[in-house]
């Protein structure tokens, strides 16, 4: 038996059984709201590659950020990070918990968010 998927069309028809007057656009908006809510849990795990920039410490992972192929990242929570080694292999690197290090790097400050003046 084929996998049973609920399409948006059948979802709307289920809703219309109880709410026949609910506008379709409104239902679509609510569906998108629920997908945003569900995205906070591990409903979709994605792997992406980002190119490093010389002397840049911070990399954008906001909603509009892109990977090295120009695809939108849409990061909600990073699970693991790997860095390419000298053989071209990806090696997992640890996450820094205590950020109070003497980082001493000011060259990438342009990548830091600044007040937008509004």
């Amino acid at each position: 038996m084929a996998v049973h998927d609920i399409s948006v069309k059948s979802l709307i028809s289920r809703i219309k059984q109880v709410f026949p007057d609910a506008p379709e656009n409104y239902i679509l908006n609510l569906v998108n709201d629920s997908l945003v809510e569900m995205g906070m849990y591990n409903t979709k795990v994605v792997h992406a590659k980002i190119s490093t920039v010389a002397d840049q410490m911070y990399y954008d992972i906001s909603d509009g950020a892109e990977d090295s192929s120009g695809n939108k990242l849409e990061v909600n929570k990073i699970i693991r990070t790997y860095l390419m080694d000298s053989d071209g292999d990806y090696i997992q690197i640890p996450r820094l918990i205590d950020k109070d290090l003497l980082l001493g790097d000011a060259s990438s400050e342009s990548a830091v968010e600044v007040p937008d003046g509004e």
Binding site: V18, L30, V45, I50, Y58, N76, R80, L83, I93
Partner: protein, 143 residues
């Protein structure tokens, strides 16, 4: 292009701060250790194409029309129906003037909210889990 960092697991760290991922290392662009005690950790000093690989939870794709499909596992799709009904029942409760309608709509909204929370939060891990079979623990070589 490979990097000059031979042992990233020892010489590189990452952290997140808001919507930014910070990447620091204690080796220079030649792969040699930075020896100063201050300013030991710095940004990676070389441009590495596809140098960073991240695994992360992402947002499911949104729907744009009734012909779209839901970008989530089918075990979780019923929760979307619950979420929409929860909101619509709450709307009905807000718009109704009859107290009986308000009460029943509020109750039904709470029921669908509970269904949604149970599916995603309470039992979500079970529904999403795709692991099985025998397990093995691989101990790292500490020598």
């Amino acid at each position: 292009m490979a990097s000059n960092i031979k042992y990233p697991e020892d010489n590189a760290l990452y952290f997140t701060e808001g919507s930014r991922l910070g990447l620091i290392t204690k080796v220079d662009s030649d792969g040699d250790a930075i020896t100063s005690t201050r300013k030991k950790w710095k940004a990676v000093s070389e441009a590495i194409t596809d140098g960073l690989l991240i695994h992360y939870y992402s947002e499911p794709n949104g729907v744009v029309s009734i012909n779209s499909s839901l970008d989530i596992d089918n075990t979780l799709q019923r929760a979307v129906v619950d979420y929409v009904k929860k909101c619509l029942y709450m709307d009905r409760a807000g718009a109704a003037t009859d107290p009986n309608v308000v009460q029943s709509a509020t109750l039904l909204s709470a029921t669908h909210k509970k269904n949604f929370d149970d599916t995603i939060r309470k039992y979500g891990a079970k529904k999403r889990d795709k692991t099985g079979g025998t397990r093995v623990i691989k101990v790292p070589n500490l020598i």
